[in-house]
Point group: C2
Chain length 327, copies 2
């Protein structure tokens, strides 16, 4: 369930494109930038782009390019700065292109705490992930998998490459015999602290989400703990943290994203990079559920937490995306 609010009567893509173009041009004419024209432009960008769905934004971008011979994204890049710029650019991108962009950034500066690759691999549907791979081919003239395989090492490589390579079955059919036997395999390996065992990686990276759910339910029932509790044996182990995040992202993505938001907001100085990523990627998907999870866990609404932690156009844009106020 999306929080994005699209007005009942949406202007045509060419009307939207024209409005944006005029605002850019008006803004450029003002030599000494006045506060008014800057905020007018920002407000217009928010009014239009934060209230159109992916298909509508794609149409605006297409029409804009045809009418004015420039890429709308390049124009936005010229006018905007800082966190507001990143949020607007990311959100305006088509979801598959956006994920390809985020994944490519991640392969360039991969650190063990950079989980975007896992997040994209595990929280998107098989077909969405496939579209990310196609967009990656188109933008970077290579494959996502080869970049991940090339830029990661050791146990991270062993887990992340199959995760991003996966094309999981998406049906609801579940094999209960298999669920039992694989729950036992997982429990045996985890009990022996063989967290990077081939079988653990195989089960987590190839089984359908429905099958994995059945396996983990069986794990819980038969062995007395949720798997993620057993995976907390060494709380400081970075690989175990990633593995827990994988499980969470595959089975309860809204809880995974709630935690990313919570950590981003509670951080000293707050982590706008993560905040922007989660809001722009989930606003059209499951932000309603994420907000519910946030409220439940933190006892304040996400809107309020974001408003307290951010300011200006950036704040307005994020709040619009998570559905605060009217379309």
């Amino acid at each position: 369930m999306a929080t994005l609010k699209v007005p009942v009567h949406v202007p045509s893509p060419s009307d939207d494109a024209e409005q944006l173009r005029k605002a850019f041009e008006g803004f450029l004419e003002v030599v000494h930038l006045e506060m008014d024209s800057r905020s007018d432009l920002s407000q217009l960008i928010i009014d239009i782009l934060a209230h159109r769905n992916a298909a509508q934004r794609n149409s605006i971008r297409k029409v804009y390019g045809e009418a004015y011979g420039e890429d709308l994204l390049k124009c936005l890049e010229k006018e905007l700065t800082s966190d507001f710029e990143r949020a607007v650019l990311l959100f305006t991108l088509d979801p598959a292109e956006r994920d390809a962009h985020l994944a490519n950034e991640a392969t360039k500066k991969f650190t063990s705490s950079n989980w975007i690759l896992m997040e994209i691999a595990c929280s998107r549907s098989s077909h969405e992930l496939l579209n990310v791979k196609k967009a990656y081919h188109a933008s970077y003239k290579k494959s996502l998998e080869e970049d991940v395989a090339h830029h990661t090492t050791g146990e991270y490589c062993k887990l992340l490459v199959p995760l991003v390579s996966a094309f999981r079955y998406e049906g609801e059919e579940v094999n209960m015999t298999l669920a039992k036997s694989e729950a036992k395999i997982l429990h045996d390996k985890i009990s022996d602290k063989h967290y990077t065992d081939d079988e653990v990686i195989r089960i987590v990276s190839t089984r359908s989400k429905a099958q994995l759910n059945a396996t983990l339910n069986h794990y819980n029932t038969s062995f007395g703990n949720a798997i993620n509790k057993d995976l907390k044996a060494d709380p400081s182990d970075e690989f175990l943290k990633l593995l827990r995040a994988v499980i969470k992202c595959l089975t309860t993505p809204e809880q995974y994203f709630e935690k990313v938001l919570r950590q981003a907001i509670n951080k000293l100085g707050s982590d706008e990079w993560a905040l922007t990523r989660v809001v722009t990627t989930r606003a059209e998907v499951d932000m309603v559920r994420i907000k519910e999870a946030y409220q439940r866990r933190n006892s304040i609404p996400l809107e309020q937490a974001i408003a307290k932690d951010t300011s200006g156009d950036y704040e307005k844009f994020l709040l619009a995306l998570i559905g605060a106020g009217d379309a």
Copy 2:
């Protein structure tokens, strides 16, 4: 370049379907099967199905199902037997469904010499392989990758899972710096006999075919041998055989298939399973090149070799697919 011959004037799918239906019914009426009616039916099947492309065969199957309430494949299965049956059924299937079927058979009775999974993973284009994975989901309610991962072990698993999971970039762009550095990695690992090293698997399973070609050319130039020569250190090692086949399949598929055909035909009693597979899967793809390679290597035309080694309707069907005689 395909060898399949489609007549200039192709009957409509419903005409073809009707002809087949009438022949099935006529055949059923004859209680004591006469040689004539059997051979009439076989000839009709060859005349129609061995001379229609994949789209046309799909249409015939669709129209047949709608008109007579039965799957054409099931009807063919009832009427035909043995090698002719398998060849007709495999060829009539849509290419992606056919590969999914072959791959599923392979996961069920995997032996180290069963290379069909590798063959499908390496000789199909990225988009063809993707369609195989989609067909696999649809037919078997699970993913190809999970079955391969589940049913293979050890070094075969380590190589085959990333190969079938790949979605390689298909463009012609090549990074020469990367080609040099990865040629050196390959040479170092092979010199140390680390054939199953992560880096070897990574390069072979993720790089685009164009990039891999550049890397292997560089290998040849810099280190004095083609990689497959260096991979012959231990000729009886089954994993090395598979790795050489992977390289061949990725870089010169027609030579790979020529060898499969040669071994199938020269075998005592000949290997119809392999012969049928190669002819039905390549007739619409690159059989012209495979025939050239066969003639070059064996000094007799493939047609002649197949005619010598097979007989009856099966022979006629294979010869029709490899373009012997008229459409």
